[in-house]
Amino acid sequence: MSIPPNSYRSGPDDKGHFGGYGGRFVAETLMPLVLDLERAYDAARDDPAFRGELGAMLKDYVGRESPLYYAERLTQHLGGAKIYLKREDLNHTGAHKINNCLGQILLARRMGKTRIIAETGAGQHGVATATVAARFGLPCVVYMGEVDIERQKPNVFRMKLLGAEVRPVTSGSRTLKDAMNEALRDWVANVHDTFYIIGSAAGPHPYPAMVRDFQTVIGNETRAQMQAKEGRLPDLVVACVGGGSNAIGMFHPFLDDASVAIHGVEASGDGLDTERHAATLSKGSPGVLHGARSYLLQDRDGQINEAHSVSAGLDYPGVGPEHAWLKDQGRVQYFSASDKDALAAFQLLSKLEGIIPALESAHAVAHVMRVAPQMESDKLIAICLSGRGDKDVFSVAAALGEKI
């Protein structure tokens, strides 16, 4: 379609565009803040003191680096490529989300902000934000859709224990997109003291690039660990895609390695041919929502459709703009896994490896269950296991029709 760029890793441009995606589609009230944030982030990124502080916290507070674990029994069971799991589930708070939250709260402190807000779907980002807010003694408000509050009760209570205020969002579909609307409204109304910690590689520039940078620790470690264990790079890298933060963090360091195939896995809910899915890149079309141009689930009139997935963290009708660009470039291929596939993978990984994955991450595992058997046994796969499934046991029990 077009000439491949010299590097897939050089975006965004100075207006925050990845090709035709991204940008800063926000109310004028927010523009000075978004510009201010960009300046502050650029300065922090180049400051060894900031990087040192973040590195130390990632090590001693989050517990990095996270292991790259050879899933021997899963590999044997599937009978194909050798499968490694990047264990983000072992991070403090149980998911990759904390990598980003730490980076952003350190930036908030540098900028002199005194109040933290966030949106959350599965509650993992809310928990991670509440955690770092507690650690640094800042008041924290987390917006969460009523539907998600119901299906992620353990995380709601966790946030409260951590001292955060969880504000239920009752508008729209009462899920992640509505929580994001509400958080943006809060930010518009409290511009002077508030820092908005966005939980995925989405939103207006500089968020997609900033969140990606904070998450590339996943891919950078995976690269080095795979080199150390196998003496070479993986042949395939896989991650689930909600807003796209764990995926872009895993993928970005590999984008310019032509030998590495990269697969993102979206949630197809009841199925791609139904109305009930969250497969934005597979089934959506470009549009503008939450500050960026990217793929969206929308109708012909540009109204946003509701997404559906058993996994609250993937239940979002948008996706980060860099993924939209990578899809159009053909550098990353996007697939999907249904609720049923994810539930099967959730159980399989639990039984074979003694690792209960987050339902989000189970989508990536489900995809590998399909592709690994097709690959030779000397091929290497690295899956980003973005989180652990403790938060999901109630909803999985309900989906399987079991009472606990």
Binding site: V26, A27, T29, P32, S171, G172, V188, A189
Partner: protein
């Protein structure tokens, strides 16, 4: 001259501020909203802001969001918004209409084609809340081609440097957002707003309207003393909602009556001073 420029020039000659009501196209349904739109000039509207319903408005409070959802539930779409204006234009060739809303419905329609169709339908300007100057080129170019103004926002967070960016390429008039927040949540401080409008006057000859947070005839009059236009949105939308169960004619009469009070108050405001 455009309808917008004509209208502000005439108001300046009369030493009056414009009364600018906002209603949502299609709230609670197409026919009622059209009847209300048609009643607004008679009720004293000098310029009308017509809201494009959107499922996920970022810059609106709960009252306006609920009105968009009512409109969408009644089957409203962007092509129907244009249709409504075409029908309005059959009876009114003078009152400027500015569409206000989020970008995505326009993006889905096709931005360039939309500018053409909107101008042909009799729309005069576009006020797109999530297209800041950094992103509005896609709309400004085709809009200029078809004689549509792309109105820009100025806010309490716009410093002198930001104002340079906003004024570079602004047309029609400026919309001063009188508080940092979403539509319809807080009440504004008219002293701070007056100072802000004075700063704008020193920089541009474009008319400055003020909106967000103006709810009563008294507040409207206070702003009308110094601004070129006073926008009242949420308070009117709330009136529509209070009357959703009434007969169409009764709803229109009730909301128009409220608009007349606001208009009278805006139009008399400067007279009281001199």
């Amino acid at each position: 001259m455009s309808r917008i420029a004509d209208r502000f020039a005439a108001l300046r000659r009369d030493n009056r501020a414009a009364f600018v009501p906002f209603i949502t196209a299609g709230d609670p349904d197409f026919e009622t909203a059209l009847a209300l739109l048609q009643a607004l000039p008679e009720a004293g509207a000098d310029l009308i802001e017509l809201g494009i319903p959107f499922s996920d408005p970022m810059a609106d409070g709960p009252v306006n969001q609920a009105s968009y959802l009512r409109a969408l539930a009644s089957g409203m779409t962007l092509p129907k918004v244009l249709d409504m204006v075409r029908k309005f234009r059959k009876g009114d060739a003078k009152t400027p209409i500015v569409l206000m809303g989020s970008y995505n419905p326009i993006h889905a329609y096709g931005t360039a084609r939309f500018a053409k169709d909107a101008a042909e339908a009799g729309i005069d300007g576009l006020l797109i809340v999530d297209l800041p100057p950094e992103e509005d080129e896609v709309l400004r170019a085709p809009a200029a081609l078809h004689g549509l103004d792309v109105v820009r926002f100025v806010t309490p967070t716009s410093d002198a440097k930001r104002l340079d960016t906003i004024l570079d390429g602004a047309s029609g008039y400026l919309y001063y957002v009188s508080m940092a927040g979403i539509t319809g949540t807080k009440v504004i401080s008219s002293d701070e707003t007056e100072a802000a409008v004075a700063r704008l006057r020193a920089r541009t000859r474009l008319p400055a309207t003020v909106g967000f947070g103006i709810k009563t005839p008294e507040q409207a009059a206070a702003v009308a003393r110094f601004a070129d236009g006073v926008v009242v949105g949420t308070a009117i939308v709330a009136r529509v909602y209070e009357n959703v169960n009434a007969k169409r004619a009764a709803l229109v009469a009730n909301v128009a009556e409220f608009c007349s009070e606001l208009a009278n108050s805006v139009h008399a405001a400067r007279g009281k001073d001199v």
